[in-house]
Structure formats: structure tokens, C-alpha cells
Amino acid sequence: MTRLRWWCLSPAGLLLGLLFLVPLGIVARYSFLTRGPYGGVELPYSLENYKLLADPLYLAIFVRSIGYAGLATALCVAAGFPLALFIARSGRRRSLYLALVVVPFWTSFLVRTYAWMFLLRDTGLINTALLRMGLIGEPLQLLYTPFAVILGLVYGFLPFMILPIYATLERLDPALVEAAADLGARPMDTLFRVIVPLASPGILAGSLLVFISCLGSYLTPDLLGGGKTIMIGNLVQNQFTAARDWPFGAALSLVLMATILLLLLPLLRRKEGLL
């Protein structure tokens, strides 16, 4: 049994070891090197890249990214929890609704993000409809705004919120909800004093997934935010492409990871007893 257990670890272990830990080590090393003239890295080792981070410009991007990711996560909870509850209460139709939640994954994320661009742009569906109805005189600036970025993030990661919450709600004993009503709790009381507390592991898991994914995302802010460097992901991408500053990009990546870890540490320790 013990040997089988270790064998079970090996596929994922090998995959993570080779394709995650090794590259991570390379990135860590790069972050202490000097940039090469045409990209790449050179000796000597230095701490310059980390010192650069203290620049208010970069700090602002960090803070903004955390803000966007936090807002998107909150909106995902607000939209995802009721939907998960709806699905969990849908009896035989549960599987159908769950399948619908996952359907967007059948199409490439890139294609779906382009679809949002078509919807949001000045001559897009939303603006055209509002103009035709006479509700607005000129097109609203929807695309290339923080609004579009957050919308894109919520859209993209909502399923990662719905699925873990659904998993906890599905296991919730219906008798507990009946017991609450029996003891005099009105529906809203039952929701906030029984259902939400019992679904909190799912809400927490979903929030972690969404928040981490949002914080590191670069496609959505790049396409819907107008190519401006507005989130850390874009900043990192820039360093490895246009700016040709691999060591700084590597340092940014590591600091991003450290930030996420730091933000989530107290949460994990308190709620799950994981650490």
C-alpha cells in the first residue's frame, strides 16, 4: 500500500519537478543576473533588479493589480455563490447546468476575449444597441478601460468560483436548512447563518483560485485594457519581450509569487489549518 502511494505521487511529481521547479530555479537565478544587450542574461550577479522594484511606478502597478484581482474575486463571489446555490437546488437538472458552466472552456480563451472586444468596442454590439435605442448620443468608452479588464477577469474566472462552491453546497444536508426554518429563521437568516458559513470552505477555495489567476493574468488586461501596462502580468511580459530585461522580468515574477504567498498565508493558516 505504501509503495502504491508513492507511485501515485510520481506522475505529478515528475511533471512538477521537471516543468515547474526547474524553470522556477532558472527564473530565480536570472533575477540575480544582469541584463544582456539583446535580451538574455549576463554576469555579474547583483541585486539591482530588486532595487528597481521600489520605483513608485512599479509599486503602483502591484497595488493596482492586487486591487483589480480583489475586486474581480469579490464580484465572482457575488455572482458565483447564488448561481452555485441555484444549481445545487436544481434537482435532476444539476448536471445540465454544471455542463453549461463549463461550456465556455470548449472555446479558446483568446477567442472568447476577442468576442468581448467585439461587444465592447465603440462600434460594438452594446454601443450600437444603446445608440439605436437613443439612450446615448455617442458611443461609450467601454473597451480599453479598467471596467473592461475587470469584466474580462470576472467572466474568465467565474467558473473557478462556481465549481468549488457548488461542491460544498451539494454536500450540505438539506435537513440543516429545514432545521433553521423550523427554529424560526427566515430565508435570509438561513442563508447567512447556516448556508454561507457551511459553504465557506468552497468560497475560500474559489476565491484563492480566482484571486491567484487574476493577479497573474496578462491576456485579459492586454486585450481589454488596451495594451497599456496595467497589471503585473503585462509588466512581466513586457520585460521578456519589448523591454528585453529578462533579469527584471524574473525578479518581478518572483516578487509576484512572494506577494501571493504573503497575502494568502494568514488565510490558509486560519481557515484550513494547512500550515
Partner: protein, 319 residues
């Protein structure tokens, strides 16, 4: 008789079947009332309608004379002790018990909670979460959680079925004593006729969605109105147009004088610990189980015997 809860012509139809079919019942105030029947007889659905988790297709429910059938559970002054107890796992025993009081807007819940903790002997365990409590303790929390609200009727859904058999008989007596002490009407559902007989002031027997008979335990046991009730309350020997309980069916090797009897042949003998159940074939497709003392005459299969009884013990169905 002062009635606390009335069911008038209650019908509950589901898509595929009728779960409760025209049930009319009056529950006397302050009594321990059992609703019994085999699984699928409609007793659970009846309880759920009284609690407000299901709504009757037709008929009326009156609590203290007021119609309640369309009220949601949180507006009915009845409370349920669930079969699975349904304790809130994220709350301590004390918080579970205080839950209903807080929903009622009671500011200082402690005096009432402390009193009921004492009543169900849970003092000292009140800070534990449900998963740290034993089965019996969980049940007492569930009872306390409902009793603290002083409902007009306490509904108990198979309250003893989740307990160990050894504990069950003890809890049975505790439950009855508790009911006497608090004076609240208990409406209990069970499929165990021994439990109902030993606990109840009144019993109503349901079968296939219909009410078969309601009465005191002795009435149901000794004067059942239907064959179903007679058989459900305990084993019966049917001898043509009347029936006999095994304990009032005697066996003898000689024909007894001055008592009705029939001849038979012993078929099986079953040791039950405190007595033996000896089954005799009476011919004409009839047979009888006789309860005999284990240290009396020993009967062997194939032996010719006389099955006898006192005429007063004959059970004639009284429609």
C-alpha cells in the same frame, strides 16, 4: 378533550402517488402521541406537513384552532427533532440551542439556554461542536434546541432509531419522563410498535396513506379495528373469525376442560431467551404461535397437542 393540533381531511399527492390520503386526526394537548406505520405509510409526510416543510394538496391543519397549513415553517409554533438531529456543525452545542431564541429576537439567551441544558443533562458539554458529541448527546442537543422555544407541539422523527439498541430502551423512558416534566405535546413518529406502546398516551396507526385507527395503546393492542392494526401492534394468530395474541394462546398435551381449544401438530419451536415460541399447525391452512415458558413442557416437532385459550382473550375486529 382539549385539542392542540387538528388535521382535517389532509391529502398530499406527489407526481406519482398519493402519500397521505384523507387523514383526520386530533392531538390532545399535553399528550405523548405516536404516529406509527410501516415505511412508506405516509407518517413522515404527515409530520413534514405539520412542520411546514411540505404543504398539503388539500385539507386543513389547525394549531390551537388557527389554520396553519399555508404558513412557512418559521411562522409555526411547532418544532422538529430530526431523525439525523440536523445540528449545525459550525456551531457549538450552546449556539445550536440559542439559535432559535436569537431568531425570535431574545436579547439575553443565557438563562433559558442554561435551564434547558440542565433539563437534558448537557451541562459541561455546551462548548463542544456536534462532531465532538456522542449520538445520545447529539440527540439531547436537538431536543434542547427545540424545547427551549417552548413549542405548542414538539415533532420527533424516529427519535430513537439512530441510537444503539441498548441505549434505546433507556432513552425511551427518559423521553417520556421529559415529556411529563415539560408538559409539551410530543408527536412522535416511529415504525417500532414496542416503542409506541411503551411510550405513548395515544397512538395513531397509518397504512398506505390512510389512518387505520387511533386510540390508547391498550385499545389498539386489545381491540384493533382492522386486521392490519392487529398485526402491526404485535404478532397475531388468526383462527377464522377471531384472533389471539401468542401470549394468550396456550399449549397442552391433554385437552383442557372448560376452555376452547383446537388440536394441532407442533411444527417449530423457537427459543427467544425469556420464553419459547412454539408454532402449531391446526389444519385447514391455520396455524398458531404459542408463547410457552422455557422451563415448562418441552415440545418436539411432529407432536400432537391441544392449542387452547380463554374466550375473553379472543380479539374480534370491531369495524
Amino acid at each position: 378533550m382539549d385539542t392542540v393540533l387538528e388535521l382535517n381531511n389532509i391529502v398530499k399527492r406527489f407526481e406519482t402517488h398519493t402519500a397521505v390520503d384523507d387523514v383526520t386526526l386530533a392531538i390532545p394537548r399535553g399528550s405523548l402521541f405516536s404516529l406509527i406505520g410501516p415505511s412508506g405509510c405516509g407518517k413522515t409526510t404527515t409530520l413534514r406537513m405539520i412542520a411546514g416543510f411540505e404543504h398539503p394538496t388539500s385539507g386543513e391543519l389547525r394549531l390551537n384552532g388557527q389554520r396553519i397549513e399555508s404558513l412557512p415553517p418559521y411562522e409555526r409554533n411547532v418544532s422538529t427533532v430530526f431523525q439525523s438531529y440536523a445540528l449545525f456543525p459550525h456551531l457549538t452545542a450552546r449556539e445550536n440551542i440559542a439559535f432559535g431564541l436569537r431568531r425570535k429576537g431574545v436579547r439575553d439567551v443565557d438563562p433559558a439556554v442554561n435551564k434547558v441544558l440542565e433539563l437534558v443533562r448537557l451541562a459541561g458539554k455546551e462548548q463542544r461542536k456536534p462532531q465532538a458529541l456522542s449520538g445520545g448527546e447529539k440527540q439531547r442537543v436537538a431536543l434542547a434546541r427545540s424545547l427551549v422555544l417552548e413549542p405548542e407541539v414538539l415533532l420527533l422523527d424516529e427519535p430513537l432509531s439512530a441510537l444503539d439498541p441498548q441505549l434505546r430502551v433507556q432513552v425511551r423512558q427518559e423521553l417520556k419522563a421529559l415529556q411529563r416534566r415539560v408538559g409539551i405535546t410530543f408527536l412522535l413518529i416511529t415504525h417500532d410498535q414496542d416503542e409506541a406502546l411503551s411510550l405513548s398516551d395515544y397512538i395513531a396507526v397509518m397504512n398506505k396513506g390512510r389512518l387505520e385507527q387511533m386510540g390508547k395503546p391498550q385499545e389498539l393492542y386489545l381491540h384493533p379495528k382492522t386486521r392490519f392494526v392487529a398485526g402491526f401492534m404485535g404478532p397475531m394468530n388468526w383462527l377464522g373469525d377471531f384472533g389471539l395474541r401468542p401470549e394468550s394462546t396456550g399449549l397442552a398435551l391433554e385437552k383442557p376442560a372448560g376452555a376452547p381449544s383446537r388440536t394441532g401438530v407442533i411444527r417449530t419451536s423457537t427459543f427467544l431467551g425469556n420464553c419459547l415460541h412454539v408454532e402449531a399447525d391446526l389444519g385447514q391452512g391455520l396455524h398458531a404461535v404459542c408463547e410457552v415458558p422455557r422451563n415448562g413442557t418441552s415440545y418436539q416437532p411432529g407432536q400432537n397437542v391441544h392449542v387452547w385459550w380463554h374466550a375473553a382473550d379472543e380479539i374480534h375486529l370491531q369495524p
